[in-house]
Structure formats: C-alpha cells, structure tokens
Amino acid sequence: MLFYSFFKTLVGQPVTVELKNDLAITGVLVSVDQFLNIKLDNIKVVDEERYPHMLAVKNCFIRGSVVRYVQLPAPSVDTALLQDAARRERQQPAAARR
C-alpha cells in the first residue's frame, strides 16, 4: 500500500507517465487506485510528432500494468518520509498484512 499511499499525495500535481509502449504522457494526476491505475487530465503526449493521433485526447485512464515509469515533481516528494514509510512497511509482519 506504500505506493498507493504515496501517489495519493500527488493528486493534483503534474506527472509524466511513461508507458511500456514508449508513449510518454504528461498530465495532471486526477486519481490513482490500489492497482496504480492512473487517471490523467489535460494530457499532452511528450513526442507529439510520433503520436499525432493523441493530439485530440484531453484526458485518459491508464491501466497500472502498462506503466513503466512515472516522473514525479521533485518538490512534492518527501524522501525522508518515504524512507520512514518504507521502514514501517517492512516492520509490519507479513501476517498482519491483510
């Protein structure tokens, strides 16, 4: 749940999602769920010449399994806190994880 918890804090921030088919989409994160499916608004494809058919698309839903990377806005990530969250996640015994 760490990643879900993390991405929740990025709602409303601009992110760039790189897909496994090399498409990279920049947009405002609208919502994310536990599968890390992503909803983006005001999207813009990074390489527009290569994907002209994406010009008309304004928002999109991305299935979590097709995401390769998500580029985050650095100021809105608290790395120290992220480390602590990872530590906490590790501390929880596996049995306690539902």
Binding site: S5, F6, V11, D33, Q34, F35, L81, R87, Q92
Partner: protein, 713 residues
Amino acid sequence: MADFFGFNTAMPGRQGGRVALNLEEQQELDRQVQKYALETGEDFEIYDYGETYDNLADDLEETRDDLNDETFGDVQRDEGTDFDFARNTRQVAPALKKEEELYIQQNDIAAGGRRSSFASLWENDAAGQQDNFNKGLPEPSHAASSIWGSFSNTTAKVQDPVFGVGTFLSRNTGFGNNQPSLEEIEAQLSRTAGGQAHMQMPSQQERKMMSLEEVEAALLNINGGRPIYSEAMIAEQQAKQARLEQRRAERMAKQAEIAKHNGLMTQGDKDFINRIQISQLVTDDPYADDFYCQVYTALRNRHLQQMGVPSNSMGGDANGQNDNNRRRGGNGRTEQRIQQQVQKIVSDAKRNPKRTNVTVEGALGKIAVNSVLNPRQLLQVSKRGANEASGGNSPKTSSPGPVSTKSHTVLGWIENVYTYVLALEQKRRQQPPPPRMGEEELAREAIQRWNEEYGILARKMWDELRITVPIGIVHPHPFISILNYSKGKKVIPRVLRHLLPEQTLTLLTMLVANFESLNVCKAEVYADVQGNQEIELFMNTIVPPLLGFVSETPFRIVVGLLALFIERNNMIWVARSKPGLAFLTLFLSRAEILKQGQGNYPIPDEREVNQWNELYNRLFSQLQTQFSALFMPKATMTEDVHVWRFLAAMAVGASVDQQHVLVTEVREQVLENVIAAQATRSAPEKAAQRIANVNLFLHALGLDASQVSVPAM
C-alpha cells in the same frame, strides 16, 4: 330466455349488447346520480366504463342457444326455491349491509377514502335499469345491490387498465365529456406513481430545451437589432446560425446516446461496486497502512498554517479516505453513506481476518487469495540468513566485545535505531488522553502502561545507539561510526527528542571525546561536493539541538566538556573543521555568558573561574600561530562567518596580551576584507557582509571596522 339460474343475464348498462344512451337519457342519468348523491350524502364516484368498453362481447355467439332449456331445464316451470339466492340473500340483507359498511370503513381508512361505496356505484347504474330489475327480481334489495356493486367494481378494475383503479374521473360530472385529456392522465399517473423521478424527467428536459431555444432567440434578437451592413454579413450570420443549429443537434444526439444508458444501475448497485472498491483501500490503522499519506498531509497542513494559509478541511482526519472523498467534491449525503460503509467494512475486516489461501474440501490444490495487501510472493529469501543477521546483531548490544565497524553492520545499527524511533513516534501519537472526570483511575493505569512501554522502547533505542560502549575498544567508536553516515546524522534530532537529559549529556560527552574521528572533521572532506554536503548535514542536524542543550547547562558541565574536548582532540585539527569550530564557539560563548551571570544560573565561584581560565589559556596556546590558518583557502566570505564568530568568542575572554596576539595574527584578513569592501567594483550587499563579518570580531575587542585605516597602496 335471457335467464341463467334465475339471474338476469343482461349486463347492466347495456341493452341488446350496445350502449344506447342518447343525450337526454344521459342527462337524466346524471341528474339522478347527483340526486342520489345528495340523498345518501356519500362520497359519490362514477366508474365509467361505457365509453372505454371495446364491445368485444358483440362478437360472441348469441345464437344456437336453443338447447339451453334442455340442458339447464326450464327455470320458469320447475324453478323451486333451490336457486332463489336473491330471496335467501334478502333474509340476511341487514347483516350483509352491516358487514359491508364495516368493510367500507376499513377500506376508507386503508385507501384514504379513494374507493367509493360499492352500493352507490351500483345504484347509479340501477337507476337507469330500474325496469329490468323490477321484471327479473322480486324487488331490488340493498344487499343484492351491494353484491352487484362489488361485482361491477371488479369489472371496472379489469376493464380500465389504462386509467388504473384510481378515482381520477371523479371530477367529470357528465358521461359525455368524461374522456380525460392527456394532461390530466399524465398528471394523474404521476400522482399515482408517487411523483417518481422518471415521470418528471422528460418535462425537465423539455424545459431545458426550451431555455436553450430562448437563449438562441435572444441571440437572434441581438443580431437582429444590429444594423446590417452587407449581404455577406447576413450570409455569414446565417452560416453561423446553421453551424450553431448543427452543433446543437449533434450535442442533443450525443446526449440522447448517453441518456440511453441512464438508470442502468440502481443506487444499490453503485453502492455495491463502491463497497468492493473501498474495501480494498480502507484500513483500520491508517498510520500503519497509509503512513506516507497521513504524515505528509499532516506536515503540509502544518506548513500551510505556518505560511498563514488557513488549513483546508483535510487537516486532522484520522482516515485518509476522508480527504480523498472531500477532494473529489462529493456531496454530503454520498460522503456520509460512504463513511458508514467504510466503518462497516473496517469492522467486518477486523472480525474475520482474511486468509491467504483457501483449501476446498476434496480439491487437490489450494486456491491462493492474493490481494493488493497480500501479493503473490515472487522472491523466497531463505529464513536462515535472516536469522543469522538478527542473531548476530542482538548480542552485540549486551556484550560490546567484538564490535565491528564494517559498513553493513553499522548500517544495520542505524536501521535498528530508525525502527525504534518510528515505534517511539507512533507511541507518542497514541499517547493516552488526559484523564476525564470519573475515570481518573482508569486513565492513570493507561498512562502508566503507556509510560512503561515508552520507556522500554526508549531504552532499546539507547542501546542501539551504542553510546555507552567504552572508548578505545574499537576505532572509531561505534557511535561515531553511526554519525559518519548521513542516515545516522539525520536520525539524531529525532533520537534526541526521546532521550532523558542525562542521556543527552552522555551523548554529547561521547561526541566531544571522539570528535577527531568524525569524518566531517577531516580536512579531505572539504575537497569534494559530497564531503561538503556531509558537513552541511552535520551543521543542520546535530549542531542545533545540541546547541539548545548546551545553552541550558550549568558552568561546571561546560568546563568539563571543554576540558574533555581539549584533552582528547588535537585542537589544531579540530579547529580547522567547521563543526569543530562551531562546538568551540558554543562552549566559549556559553561560558562567557555564565561568567557574566546572565539568566537564572548562579555566577560561578572562584575555583570554577580559575579552572576555566586555565582551560582557556591552554586552548589559546594550542591555537596560537594558527589563527590565520583557520580561514579556509579560497573560501567565500559567507563561509568565513563561523571563523569570525569563533574569533569573537575568543576575543571576549582573552587577556590584553592575548587580544594583541589575536589582532596581530588575523590583521591581514581584517585588512583584506575592509579593502575588498571599500573597492568600488564589489556589490554593496557583499561589502556590507564583509564589514559585518569583520565587525563580529572587532566589536568583541571594542573596535569597529570604520576605525581601521587602510594603508595606502
């Protein structure tokens, strides 16, 4: 014969199979009906089915009934009284009447007086058919009419599927115009349907469409009001209008296309789907499963409050789900419903913990139940290795003999420290509330238990820091090894919050005693970027909390610390590092403040002051001839601030001779800065910074930069 077991088989209201009432007859009927209504004083209703009757019965075979008499016998001849139900009925008529009245009363209560009296219904038709009855029946009895009435009522029910069984025709007084208008039917339907939403929706849409047309008309009016200049303009406007029209049509088509699927799911369906989704995300312990989001939101809210921005509603939510919902802007009712569902899901999850796999009886395998919280394990790390690592760690806490300072061991210690710090912070959040009235005993117990648990954790953390390991067994000291990692530096401010004052003092003592072996003390760290980052980190994380601690210590301890500092470290080396200089400045200034008797601390006695002076002289003599070397080569003037500050601290406590030595040694640096500040090409703020730096030192001597005479070039 038109008789059937002595009953008149002619349908009421029909003669020869056809409704043949002319206008006069109808009016007459009407009049009679109203008269009857006045006489009986009943709530009079007309169930008219004459007009809507489809005359299907006309097609029924009415001939070939010649053998009826043979089959059923001649009722006129040997009728007897066996089938004279009417007579029997008349005997019990009063009882029946009473029963019927009771029934009507009940019905009136149940249906809110919607149903009419059956008797009255029959009577009104009977009025038109009076002679028929007189012929066929001995005399029309009230009970008999009641029975007929109920019968006719059922036919009305069957025959009027369109208008229902309601009383919507009651407003029509005449038979001639009793066909209700479409609007009336619609209104009636919507009323009987309880004003359901689907009945009203079309009218709303209609209204919306109307308003759109109005807007368009208004637009056209505006256009029309404008002076028209040319044909081209008219054409353009027409084209624009056409375009608008087309776009509107397209939009309507699209809306209709979407509306096709409206109401496909009921609210219950949607709630069900929501529940599935939420049950995956919701947690009963948000600080465990949703730690990042919780703390991040709390931190940001605090930050916003500090900035003066009023915190939004997200603050103080115990559950992360809340702010998510709120951000989406759902209305209050939906939110509340989801909230309730969330609570239900949480309690359900608590009651029956989820299993990771299910074994179905008789099946050969197991069904793995994987979820987001419990994903399929892809890596199988051997348990043996993990045991060794932890087993190797814990005994070292107690027996400090074979302490190794290999990097992974130290990193392991640091991680353990973090673990306890996180646990302690979690404990802080779960601090029991202050006792309420009447529950002091209970609260005291809770607080005591909390204190015990907190104390155990704090002790474990203290052990993990390895501060109490005697000096000299391993080099560097384990605690110093921890501080040599940036991770270890970062945890110190958080550790200090959970330490007792004497533990903090021990930590400070240990740090001072081993200062030399800190990596930030070594000259080579200044060479690269990473080294500078480490120094920066040390200055930002470790120095401020310890500065706060030292500024509250009594004179005796300051003397002791400085003595240890000078004793155990090479002052020339330490003083060249930024952190070392910072600590020296800290002790010197604190001692000076206490000597002058500021604050609530007692003025140190003679013996302590003498001790201090001795220490100071030792320090001075060690650093003599090195003062100018404290300045970093090629350092910018902002990086020199700490050196000037140290020199100022030295100058305050120095004797006249020592002051003279100081001035002689750093004379060049003072002059350099003053000249640079006076040079025309330097920026004014930089010049001011230089002068301020120099003045830090000169003011301590009772001088000022303006008094410095720049020798002519």
